[in-house]
């Protein structure tokens, strides 16, 4: 049986339970569908693809994203949708090159068989031009949508180079939340952590606390984000935050070394520390299971 990491999370009634094991893996391998008649469904989160990056941290950068697309396409049960939580491209000062990278990224992910794909910018995509090039090709940088009883909110905490959500977007968020029942399951998508994970490494959102304050009255809130190129799981009150692996290079654990330099490429274990995840929503989104996948499955 091929090895894959498994992490199951349950956010029920505002609490969160973490469990490790292979139970969820076995269920999927047996061919059970996540998106059945009960209303359960699953989606895939990919993050930090950094298309255009060239460097020693990933000598295979030209094909890593394509391989991940192939792995997603090979999932036995297709997800109902896919989200990319930012840093689609690696930053460049050149506006023409930025647009070229965004277009190339878009062309590559067009090969995904699942056609409902949601995008978000990261600071590498959007901070140097306040999201102008990104919006030309992908539209709004923050938005909300509903899927089978779960309310999804994509928050842009990168178009402002100072990592601020900003008053305008916070007002929009306040208005969006005001329409919801307090028990509505909410999944927030962001690029940067909304809480102060590691401010010394700029792993924070300057006004993230204001967004969390708005979310606090809601009983079932889970945040999935990127930016830090590794899994990390933390609670702020009853709100669970889960960061995703990257698809370009891994970064060290928060505060584990003086600088946030990429972890070196391991030629003996290519793509080590990289991957994507499935998020399975059960009980109308009140229970979420996360399954981690490598870039390439054995």
């Amino acid at each position: 049986m091929q090895r894959r990491d498994f992490l199951a999370l349950a956010a029920l009634g505002g609490g969160a339970v973490f469990a490790s094991g292979l139970a969820g893996c076995a269920s999927r391998a047996d061919g059970m569908t996540a998106a059945g008649s009960t209303g359960d469904f699953y989606f895939v989160q990919l993050s930090d693809t950094h298309w255009g990056y060239q460097g020693p941290a990933n000598p295979d950068a030209a094909v890593t994203l394509r391989k991940a697309v192939a792995t997603v396409n090979a999932l036995p049960t297709p997800p109902e949708f896919i989200v990319f939580t930012g840093d689609l491209t690696h930053t460049t000062d050149d506006p023409v090159e930025r647009r070229r990278r965004l277009a190339e990224f878009k062309s590559i992910v067009a090969d995904l068989k699942v056609k409902t794909v949601r995008f978000m910018p990261g600071e590498h995509d959007a901070s140097l031009d306040r999201g102008a090039a990104y919006q030309e090709q992908f539209g709004e940088t923050f938005y909300a949508f509903d899927h089978k009883g779960v309310h999804f909110i994509a928050i842009d905490n990168v178009s402002d180079p100072g990592a601020k959500i900003g008053e305008e977007q916070l007002a929009w968020l306040r208005g969006d939340l005001a329409k919801l029942d307090k028990q509505t399951p909410i999944v927030v998508l962001a690029h940067r952590p909304l809480f102060d994970l590691a401010p010394k490494w700029d792993w924070a959102t300057r006004d993230g606390a204001q967004a969390l304050d708005l979310l606090m009255p809601y009983a079932n809130v889970t945040v999935f984000y990127g930016h830090i190129h590794q899994e990390h799981h933390q609670m702020t009150g009853h709100i669970a935050h889960h960061s995703a692996k990257s698809l370009i290079f891994a970064l060290p654990a928060p505060g584990s070394q003086p600088n946030r330099t990429p972890l070196p490429w391991d030629s003996g274990v290519p793509y080590k520390g990289l991957g994507f995840r499935e998020i399975e929503a059960e009980d109308t989104g009140r229970a979420l299971k996360v399954t981690e996948f490598p870039v390439v499955r054995a």
């Binding site: 930053t91 140097l128 990168v158 180079p161 010394k200 490494w201 700029d202 300057r206 600088n259 330099t261």
Partner: protein, 126 residues
């Protein structure tokens, strides 16, 4: 983590007491009996120059920072303060460390490919 950070910040605020106002835009450093030593600093993509500043405990200093090319940030999480370094201005940060220690600072305005390497620290000796 938040508890640890809050606790550390409380300790470090004791280490780095600000002498009068902490940060100033342009000029306007508070007049005082003994003028603090001024240390010039340049911020540019993707470095602070110098990026390591030696200080003596108890000495009042003013860090006078000029940004050359971007509104870089200077976030000093342990002190709970941050500054925007606007080109064309001199941004002044007045500090009076009271005890030995090391305080990190980091650019928190994304400034390009290399932003992640833009950081520095104050090293205070007794």
């Amino acid at each position: 983590m938040r508890t640890e950070r809050t606790s550390r910040r409380r300790i470090l605020k004791g280490v780095f007491a600000a002498a009068g106002a902490v940060a100033f835009e342009r000029s306007g450093v508070a007049q005082s009996v003994a003028a603090p030593r001024t240390i010039e600093m340049i911020a540019r993509r993707f470095v602070y120059e110098p990026n390591e500043i030696a200080l003596k405990a108890g000495e009042r200093v003013v860090i006078a920072i000029r940004s050359l090319d971007f509104v870089h940030g200077m976030n000093i999480p342990d002190l709970g303060m941050r500054l925007d370094l606007v080109p064309g201005r001199v941004t002044r940060l007045e500090l009076q460390p009271k005890a030995a220690g090391t305080i990190d600072f980091v650019c928190d305005n994304f400034c390009g490919d290399g932003h992640e390497e833009m950081h520095g620290r104050f090293v205070v000796t007794a």
